[in-house]
Amino acid sequence: MNGFSATRVLAVMIKEFKQLTRDRLTYAMMLAIPVVQLLLFGYAINSEPRHLPTALMVQEDSVFARSITAALKNSAYFDLVAQARTPAELDEMVRRGEVQFAITIPGDFTRRVARGDQAQILVDVDATDPSATGAAVAALAALPQQALVNDLKGALASRGQAVPPFEVIVHRRYNPEAITAYNIVPGLLGIILSMTLVMMTALSVTREAERGTMESLLATPVEPIEVMAGKLAPYVFVGLVQTAIILLLARFLFDVPMMGGWLGLSLGVALFIVGSLALGFLMSTIARTQLQAMQMSMFYILPSILLSGFMFPFRGMPAWAQALGEVVPVTHFLRVVRGALLKGQGVEDMWRELLALTAFVCVVTALAMARYRRTLD
């Protein structure tokens, strides 16, 4: 033992500090991550979403109907984006995910209010993500007491004093018991695939460069696309096994409903696995070391978790954050998985998301090929 020497501690400390500042990318990441993430997520995340897209079907043209419409608008929870003419049309809008709420004011509404005969408004909620709709559903409870206050005059003034003039019947579709796991578990499929696959391939090329095997590989006649295809193929298999495990656990451990949509789901999974792997490959052509590759994949994972609608309701984010979220591939994958499993959406309902994932695969592959160097220049 030769005691504790402050000089020796200092020696190690100074060396560490110098090495840290020498790796520019790491240095930049350590400073940029807190700033970017704080600004981005601090402003973007909102667990009590307002302005949710709502479709309305009004089967009678009346003063009461107009008052209720106005009250819905005033609550700021509902944005009336569509008018439906038939119940089937309304149903489609919810199933496709175009609207979060579908509100029906039936044809005999005014008559029943006047007669005090159990007047009802029907609200169909897309409850796949319970946290997205919770606050809005709670706000609906106040509707009967307030919406018609100004209209119930004269002979009708007594209506709505003892008992509310009408009731709101809420149907939580796809997830009637508001079980969070139904939403989170399918979402986890996207997150787990991203976390593992992007990182695995991101490390694969940088590892070759670090170990020096890249130089030998480049001296052989192998083409860039051949390297990429060969490196990705084993992980495609890994991704498929992961998907199978997650879906089995989701079914038997968490009782996640599986409504069908297997073709769309399969296409989505295949595209997402290939896209994630290609993204990792792209990162590995940019990063110089394995450490940098790891940091890049971390930088990708965070928005995938926070801006994709996985953890916080997508529609709760401000418009700019939603626009950013649309660029994150996981966003589209989550819509495919949740749509297929919880709503039984078919390919015809989710073609936009599948198209977005196809674009993701193509763009990332093209960039990776453009970035991959055949020489050491």
Partner: protein, 305 residues
Amino acid sequence: MTLAIDVRGLNKSFGDKHVVQDVSLQVEEGKICGFLGPNGSGKTTTLRMLCGLLTPDSGEGTALGLDIITQANLIKRRAGYMTQKFSLYEDLTIEENLQFSARIHSLDRRKQRVDQALERLGLIERRGQLAGSLSGGWKQRLALATATLHEPKLLLLDEPTAGVDPKARRTFWDEIHALSAEGLTVLVSTHYMDEAERCHEIAYISYGRLIARGTAQQVIENTHLVTFNGEGPGIDRLSVEIGQLPGVAMAAPFGQSLHVSGTDRAALETALAPYRRAPFKWTQVEPSLEDVFIRLMETSEDNFK
């Protein structure tokens, strides 16, 4: 006579460092050409340009009759390249590394070729051993076997024996001579003088420029160096003192003796006159390749630094 390598005016810069300057090099088919020069002189960069790993900034030429700029991919099929750092997969076995190389070159009779290579190496018994667990000498021999599995016509070796013990180096060079006898052209960079002497011809590069070329004997003669070997107790301690005398280009101790060289015989004789006394004994000797290279290194420093 056919040239396996024929390049003219190669240039390459990295940033503001001009690493290779106007290098022209011709190597005849079937010859072993030693590529010598101090560290950082541009040997590795030149080798990389020859096998398509780097694109020259300017210059032109052919390797195996193929244009090094436009036909780099074809050269890669017909040339073998062994990197300075061990660059096989350490987490694959010896056999798996050979198989990988066989597949990546789309070779036929794969199993047969791999078995032959293992036999040639004497590694049949250890084929299942991880490449990373081999000693330095064996690693280099395996790397050579991997680089020549596709029967290249041209072999580029970048300091293949750095850090390898003398016996393993001897074995390695025996293999290179055997390959050369089969018609393979070899360009090999090295720092070892005994290896340089085992080459058919040598090329000396310094500060990115090719400054000497020919057989070992020709290179020695062309420098017109006169060398005296001094023997006697404590003579090695005089190297600094003698090295500073006018007319002495360099004085290098070799164990108990001292090599003193200069280009001007008269000036050298004058400088050494005071030391021609007992117990020292002086004899003129043929300058060694090492004497010549150290001299070349020093003059090129003067010219280009």
